[in-house]
C-alpha cells in the first residue's frame, strides 16, 4: 500500500474519531443544559426539552451543506449567503494584497540592489513589521474615513512586510557570477534587472507573496469583526450575536478551506518560477 493511501485512510480514521469525541462531549453537555431555567434556556435559543446549544457534528454538517447548496442568497444586511460574505472578504484581501505587491516588490527591488539602502531601511522595517495590523485600524478609520477602505488598508499594511523583506533578500542574494556573466555580455541595466535579477529572485519574491496572503487571510477576519457590514469576519461575529454556534463553526470551516486554496494557488505560482541549480 502506498504511503499516500495509508495517510488518506488514517486521515479518515482521525476525522471519525474526532467527530465521535465531539458527539460524546455534546451529549454530556445536554444533561447540564437540562438543569437550566427553561426560560433562560429559551432565551439562549435552546429547545425546552433539554437540547444543547453546542451543535453536534451532524448539525454542523447539515448547516455546511445548506450553505453549499445555497451560498449566494441575500435577505437583507444581516442575512446573506456565506458565498457572498466570503466573496467580500476575498475581494478585500485581493485588493489590499495586490496594492501591497505593487508597492513592496518595486521598492524591495531597488532597496535590494544597494547595500546602503538596505541597511538604512532595515530599522524601519524591523519596528513596523511586528506591529499587529489591527493597531493601524483607528489611524486608518480616522484618515480614510471609510470602513471598507480601512480594512483594505489593514490588509495592505500586513501583507507589505513579508513581500518587501523577501524581495530585498532575493535581489540582494542574486549570485555574483550571474551578474558577472551579464556584465561580460554587456547587457544593459534594464535587461540585467529584467532578465537576470528578476528571474533569479522570483522564487524568493513569490515565497514572500505566499507568506503575505496567508497573513492577510488571518487578518481580514479580525478586521471585518471590527468594521462590520459585510465579509466573513462580520458573519462570524453576527452568528455569535445570534448565538448560532452552528453558524460560527461552519464559518470556521469555510475560512479554513478558502485559506488553504489561497495558499495552494500561491504555492503553484512559486513552483512556476522556481529553478533547480
Amino acid at each position: 500500500m502506498s504511503t499516500n493511501l495509508r495517510a488518506a485512510m488514517l486521515s479518515v480514521v482521525l476525522f471519525c474519531a474526532f467527530c465521535f469525541a465531539w458527539q460524546l462531549w455534546v451529549g454530556a453537555q445536554s444533561g447540564v443544559a437540562g438543569d437550566v431555567d427553561p426560560e433562560y434556556a429559551a432565551l439562549l435559543g435552546q429547545q425546552a426539552k433539554g437540547g444543547s446549544a453546542v451543535p453536534g457534528p451532524l448539525d454542523v454538517g447539515k448547516a455546511i451543506w445548506a450553505h453549499i447548496a445555497n451560498p449566494f442568497y441575500d435577505k437583507g444586511p444581516n442575512d446573506k449567503g456565506i458565498g457572498i460574505q466570503l466573496a467580500y472578504s476575498i475581494l478585500r484581501v485581493m485588493m489590499g494584497f495586490l496594492l501591497a505587491a505593487a508597492v513592496a516588490i518595486p521598492i524591495g527591488f531597488f532597496i535590494g540592489m544597494s547595500e546602503v539602502f538596505r541597511k538604512a531601511v532595515d530599522p524601519f522595517v524591523q519596528i513596523l513589521k511586528p506591529v499587529s495590523p489591527l493597531a493601524w485600524m483607528p489611524l486608518a478609520l480616522y484618515t480614510i474615513k471609510d470602513s471598507g477602505a480601512s480594512s483594505i488598508f489593514v490588509i495592505f499594511i500586513c501583507s507589505i512586510w513579508p513581500m518587501l523583506i523577501n524581495t530585498v533578500f532575493g535581489v540582494a542574494g542574486v549570485r555574483k557570477e550571474w551578474l558577472n556573466v551579464a556584465r561580460t555580455l554587456e547587457v544593459s541595466n534594464v535587461q540585467m534587472a529584467w532578465r537576470v535579477i528578476l528571474p533569479a529572485a522570483a522564487p524568493t519574491i513569490f515565497t514572500g507573496m505566499r507568506i503575505s496572503i496567508g497573513i492577510a487571510w488571518l487578518v481580514i477576519v479580525a478586521a471585518e469583526m471590527l468594521v462590520g457590514g459585510t465579509g466573513i469576519g462580520y458573519y462570524v461575529w453576527n452568528e455569535w450575536n445570534n448565538l448560532s454556534i452552528t453558524g460560527v463553526i461552519s464559518a470556521i470551516f469555510f475560512i479554513g478551506v478558502i485559506g488553504m486554496l489561497l495558499d495552494f494557488i500561491l504555492a503553484r505560482l512559486v513552483r512556476l518560477v522556481e529553478y533547480a541549480e
Binding site: 557570477e177 550571474w178 558577472n180 556573466v181 551579464a182 556584465r183 561580460t184 555580455l185 554587456e186 547587457v187 535587461q191 532578465r195 537576470v196 528571474p199 533569479a200 518560477v273 529553478y275 533547480a276 541549480e277
Partner: protein, 298 residues
C-alpha cells in the same frame, strides 16, 4: 612574434586589497608584464592565492587594477566588453534558461537587431560545435558537469569574441571529461585562430593547450617569474604528447617551478638581473644545443 603588436598587453599591473585589520593594504600581485599575440594561446600557472582569478577579472573588465593597465587592441580596458568572452570556473549558466537560451542571451546582446530565427540558427551552430545537439531545450540542472561547461564554451564562442578568457574552466570536472573537453577546445581554438588566455593549475592542460605559459610566483606580492615557450609541436594531442622528447623537460621545468622556485623567487631575483618588464623567456627542450636556454624578450 616580436615584431607584431600584441593583442593583449598587460603593463605593470598590480592589485592591492585592504588588509583584514583595516590598516594598510596587501599587494596580491604587482609589476606584472606580459603580452598575448593574435591567435596565441597563453596559460597562466600559479598556486592558489597568487591572484590568478583577480588577474583574469581585471582582463575581463570585472575588476579594476590598483596600478598599471591592460591594453587590448590598442585601447585600455575600462570595463567588460563583448570582445572579451569569459568562460567561468563554475560554468555560471543561468539555471532558469535552457541551454540554447543561455547561449542566445549573449548573442542577443551582441547583435540586438537579429531576428529570433537568426539568433536561433546562430546558437544552434555553436550547440552543434560543442556536440550538444539534442540537448538544446534542457536546463542546466538536467545537464552533467561536462555538458554544462560545453554550454559555457558555446556561449563564449557564440559572441565571436576577439579574446577568450578562461578561469580554470575544467577544474571542477572529472579527468575523462576534462580530457575530452581540452581536446575539443584545442581544436576549436586552432580552427578559428582564437586568441585565448587561460588560468590553470593543471600542468598537462597547459602543456596541451598553451603556446606559452606565464609562471606566477606565490602571493602575496606575486610576480611573473618567467614565460615558458611551449617546445612541443603544435599538432600535439593528449594521447601522444608525453612521447615527445621535449615533454619531460617542459613538464619537469614546470614542476620544479611550482614545487620549489615559486616560493623562493625573492631570493632568486636578488642574485639575478630580473627585470619585471621583460621576464625571462625559457624554452625547455631535450635538444642538447640549447637546453633551457634563457633569452630575453625585447
Amino acid at each position: 612574434m616580436t615584431g607584431e603588436k600584441p593583442l593583449i598587453s598587460v603593463e605593470g599591473l598590480a592589485r592591492r586589497f585592504p588588509t583584514a585589520g583595516g590598516k594598510g593594504e596587501t599587494e596580491i600581485f604587482g609589476d606584472v608584464w606580459f603580452h598575448v599575440h593574435h591567435g596565441e594561446f597563453v596559460c597562466l600557472i600559479g598556486h592558489s592565492g597568487c591572484g590568478k582569478t583577480t588577474l583574469l577579472n581585471i582582463l575581463a573588465g570585472l575588476d579594476k587594477p590598483s596600478d598599471g593597465v591592460v591594453i587590448v587592441d590598442g585601447r585600455e580596458v575600462t570595463g567588460p566588453s563583448l570582445n572579451r568572452a569569459v568562460i567561468f570556473q563554475h560554468h555560471a549558466l543561468l539555471p532558469w534558461l535552457t541551454a540554447i537560451r543561455n547561449i542566445a542571451f549573449g548573442v542577443e546582446s551582441r547583435w540586438p537587431g537579429w531576428s529570433r530565427q537568426k539568433v536561433r540558427e546562430h546558437c544552434q551552430k555553436y550547440i552543434d560545435m560543442v556536440h550538444l545537439t539534442g540537448s538544446e531545450e534542457k536546463r542546466p540542472s538536467q545537464l552533467s558537469g561536462g555538458m554544462k561547461q560545453r554550454v559555457g564554451i558555446a556561449r563564449a564562442f557564440a559572441i565571436e569574441p576577439k579574446i577568450l578568457l578562461m578561469d580554470e574552466p575544467f577544474s571542477a570536472l572529472d579527468a575523462l571529461t576534462r580530457g575530452s573537453l581540452q581536446e575539443e577546445l584545442l581544436s576549436i581554438c586552432q580552427n578559428t585562430q582564437q586568441t585565448a588566455f587561460m588560468i590553470t593549475h593543471d600542468l598537462d592542460e597547459a602543456l596541451l593547450l598553451a603556446d606559452s605559459i606565464v609562471l606566477m610566483t606565490n602571493g602575496p606580492d606575486a610576480r611573473v617569474c618567467e614565460i615558458i615557450e611551449n617546445t612541443l609541436p603544435r599538432d600535439r594531442t593528449r594521447s601522444d604528447m608525453h612521447t615527445h622528447p621535449n615533454y619531460y623537460p617542459m613538464r619537469n621545468h614546470l614542476v620544479e617551478f611550482l614545487v620549489n622556485r615559486s616560493k623562493r623567487f625573492r631570493e632568486e631575483i636578488s642574485t639575478s638581473s630580473y627585470d619585471p618588464r621583460h621576464p625571462p623567456v625559457v624554452r625547455p627542450s631535450a635538444s642538447p644545443e640549447k637546453p633551457g636556454t634563457t633569452k630575453w624578450a625585447s
